[in-house]
């Protein structure tokens, strides 16, 4: 089959073959031809040629998306003026949050700035989905690299439909709901559907509302502390800072527990006493100096100066990497209960 479509592929440092977490801060660069999963993509879809692959460190983009996107657009713009590609494909990012953010931000930017169709692929629970689904098409993927072939098989046909400006639907074309409302003619009138829905409700049968009420899952802001100099403060982190050796064996991803650890007598954390259990970022800096994630040294200083009434004796830690919303909620509720019982009045929660 002859080449019909030329695409640009975007990959993070890992899939782009540059390196692991230690390369997560690598600035973007453009390589010609396919790399990593791009090889599989070209093999599965012989009508496609990957003209170039953009590789970026995912922290580099996720930490400062605006500047990184400017940089990426700068790399892609000359490329898109001559011999313009048909489509940009980013990822798939599976359940990787920072990679997902980078893919979403790139897709949104090339659509809006370069008028280039774009598609990415993610696991539905990837936090980037909520941020970017409205702005780009996100094909449904599994949560890890084992699902690469299926992910590509979802992303590419969807992307090509976008190139050809064909109508797409989430179920048929395997993409995640964007949260947009769209009209469609159906077989039955609204009145008939309403009676059918009511009868289902009355008979205890399942029914699906056609307009789910918008959910604002927001907590009412708690009143401020009048004087921190009189208040009891606790530290909580999702950055995975645990005593050296990770005594509770908190998982590096999708944590199944949180830990409660004493700060009694500690003036600061150190590489000798603490480490990170988090598997989602390069642990070098946190392991060198865990205060970089849980700033105990600065808190103790401010406590000694009277800016903080007192620091609660324990801190609470889990790993926020790919942790389900349900688990996070559960840990939050359990920690809150303890904090209330212990008379804690304010919390600093740190996340990576």
């Amino acid at each position: 089959m002859s080449i019909q479509y030329r695409i640009i592929h975007c990959l993070n440092q890992f899939f782009g073959g540059i390196g692991g977490e230690e390369q997560a801060s690598t600035p973007p660069s453009l390589f010609s031809g396919a790399r990593g999963p791009g090889m599989l993509l070209q093999k599965e879809f012989p009508q496609i040629e990957i003209a170039a692959t953009l590789v970026f460190g995912d922290n580099y983009v996720a930490e400062n998306p605006e500047a990184a996107i400017r940089e990426i657009l700068g790399l892609l713009t000359p490329y898109c003026t001559e011999n313009r590609p048909d489509l940009l494909v980013a990822g798939p990012a599976f359940n990787a949050g920072r990679y997902g953010i980078a893919c979403g931000a790139i897709c949104q930017a090339v659509q809006e700035e370069l008028d280039l169709p774009a598609v990415t692929g993610m696991y539905p629970n990837n936090p980037a989905v909520e941020l970017y689904r409205l702005h780009t098409f996100i094909a449904r993927t599994s949560d890890n690299v084992m699902g690469m072939a299926d992910a590509i098989g979802n992303m590419i046909p969807l992307g090509l439909k976008l190139v050809r400006e064909e109508e797409v639907w989430p179920e048929k074309d395997g993409y995640l709901l964007q949260g947009k409302r769209k009209n469609i003619f159906v077989r039955e009138t609204g009145a008939k559907r309403a009676v059918t829905m009511l009868l289902a409700r009355m008979n205890g049968e399942p029914f699906t509302t056609e307009y789910p009420m918008p959910v604002f899952d927001r907590a009412e802001p708690a009143p401020p502390i009048k004087d921190m100099g009189q208040a009891r403060l606790a530290l909580v982190t999702s950055g995975g800072i645990v005593p050296k050796g990770n005594p509770d064996r908190i998982e590096a991803a999708n944590a199944q527990r949180f830990g409660t650890y004493s700060l009694k007598g500690l003036q600061a954390l150190s590489a000798q006493t603490h480490q990170t259990a988090h598997g989602g970022y390069d642990p070098t800096y946190a392991n060198q100096d865990p205060n970089r994630v849980l700033p105990l040294d600065a808190v103790r200083e401010l406590e000694a100066e009277g800016a903080i009434g007192s620091l609660h004796e324990y801190y609470y830690a889990t790993v926020g990497n790919a942790t389900s919303v349900e688990n996070a909620r559960k840990y939050g509720q359990q920690i809150a209960k303890i904090l209330v019982a212990d008379g804690v009045q304010a919390v600093i929660l740190t996340s990576t």
């Binding site: 409205l134 639907w169 989430p170 709901l177 964007q178 949260g179 947009k180 409302r181 769209k182 009209n183 469609i184 003619f185 159906v186 077989r187 039955e188 009138t189 609204g190 009145a191 008939k192 559907r193 309403a194 009676v195 829905m197 009511l198 009868l199 409700r201 009355m202 008979n203 029914f207 509302t209 056609e210 307009y211 789910p212 009420m213 918008p214």
Partner: protein, 414 residues
């Protein structure tokens, strides 16, 4: 106390020497009917009568109301006795009243699918009024002239045999089978004065609601639209005469449910009044001993609050409710659809996003006052293209997102 609706199927309208039914053709003496209507109200300065048939390359503009031709036979009391109906015929009144919220009916092209009145044989009345009339009087002239025309046309059937007859006995809520769910219909009417009016039994619905009204009165045309609001979700008189929710409930009556009554409620202008109305409506539904409720709506914006108050009230009273609404989610479908919400509204039927745009193809004939084309709600200054095509929001089309659930359009998440 039974109502009989006698239908006379009409397949064509032609102009001729006298106004009669000839077989299944409605013949209209155009000049005579125009004159009769013009002399019926001295506030009319000119009247133009046209026809618009399904498939015609015709666009009707500034549509104010649509009315099904009906007349009472043998006895004048509404809700009982015989009513003659010219099936498939609609009187379409046009008038530039408020200048921006009258609607469009396209008889062919992409717009036709979005209005029920592309499928009816339309008698279009372009009504001009004498200078100096207030908008309120102007609205009244157009409304009454349309009703007069509808009655005169229906009276051609007086000595004819109907194609079919539907019989509607009264419903005794106490005598319904105990095994079926008892369902009440909560029927919201826009009733805010200032050209946002609905008439129930010839009274302005600003007063006297909420109340329970017999279904036979509703089927017999107890509700007349006097609304000058957005075309897509104002319930025209034709919609009220043929209320699809009521029809569906009656179709299932004594089969899968029992209709125990209809509660008419209003959409008043202050929050206090809205709360009071909602509470009274819930109490009325409770007096009917309803197990469940179905709710239709008119308009958007502040009526969203009425609807949410009603849903919350009913659900909290233990009455599961299904409610119809349209959406205003922006042209791209990304905005919040409704102005209000409540977690209890778990069973909504969405009849479409009225902000979605549609490109109406150029049509040969334009009926109605056309000078203010670009000022219709849902149109834009650049709506009208050089080739005669028009890009508008569905909002501009009569009945496009009818909240009685007439259309088969729905809105979904993508």
């Amino acid at each position: 106390m039974t109502l009989k609706l006698a239908y006379f199927e009409i397949n064509d309208i032609v102009f001729g020497q006298e106004t009669i039914i000839d077989g299944s053709t409605l013949v209209i003496n155009r000049e005579s009917l125009e004159n009769t209507l013009k002399t019926s109200d001295k506030r009319i300065s000119a009247i133009g009568l046209h026809t618009a048939m399904p498939g015609d390359s015709t666009r009707i503009l500034c549509v104010k109301d649509v009315i099904e031709p009906r007349c009472k036979i043998k006895g004048t009391e509404l809700g009982v006795g015989n009513t003659h109906i010219l099936k498939n015929v609609a009187v379409v009144t046009c008038g530039k009243i408020v200048g921006f919220q009258e609607g469009i009916i396209d008889m062919s092209g992409p717009g036709a699918a979005h209005t029920p009145f592309s499928a009816t044989l339309n008698v279009v009345l372009d009504i001009q009024v004498v200078p100096g009339l207030s908008p309120h009087e102007h609205e009244e002239v157009v409304r009454l002239t349309g009703l007069t025309a509808a009655t005169l046309l229906a009276q051609t059937s007086t000595n004819k045999n109907p194609t079919r007859v539907e019989t509607y006995p009264p419903i005794d809520p106490a005598a319904v089978p105990s095994s079926l769910p008892r369902i009440a219909y909560v029927y919201m009417l826009l009733s805010q004065g200032l050209l946002h009016d609905t008439y129930v039994l010839e009274e302005n619905a600003k007063q006297g609601l909420p109340r329970i009204l017999e279904h036979t009165l509703l089927l017999d045309g107890a509700i007349i639209s006097g609304n000058c609001v957005s075309a897509c979700d104002k319930n025209t008189t034709y919609h009220h005469q043929n209320n699809p929710v009521l029809r569906e409930l009656l179709r299932e009556h004594h089969k899968r449910l029992s209709l125990v009554g209809v509660v008419l409620t209003n959409e008043p202008i202050s929050l206090d009044a809205k709360k009071k109305s909602a509470q009274q409506s819930v109490e009325l539904v409770q007096t009917l001993k309803a197990d469940g409720a179905i709710m239709s709506k008119e308009g958007f914006g502040n009526p969203d609050t009425d609807q949410m108050l009603l849903i919350r009230g009913l659900e909290e009273a233990g009455i599961p409710t299904v409610a119809l609404t349209d959406e205003f989610a922006g042209a791209n479908g990304c905005s919040q659809s409704l102005a209000d919400s409540t977690p209890q509204a778990i069973a909504m039927v969405s009849v479409g996003n009225a902000n979605e745009r549609i490109l109406l193809s150029p049509l040969e004939q334009l009926l109605g006052p056309i000078s203010d084309l670009t000022k219709l709600a849902g149109a834009y200054p650049h709506s009208l293209h050089d080739d005669g095509s028009m890009e508008v929001e569905l909002q501009a089309i009569i009945g496009a997102t009818n909240e009685l659930g007439w259309q088969t359009l729905r809105c979904r998440e993508v």
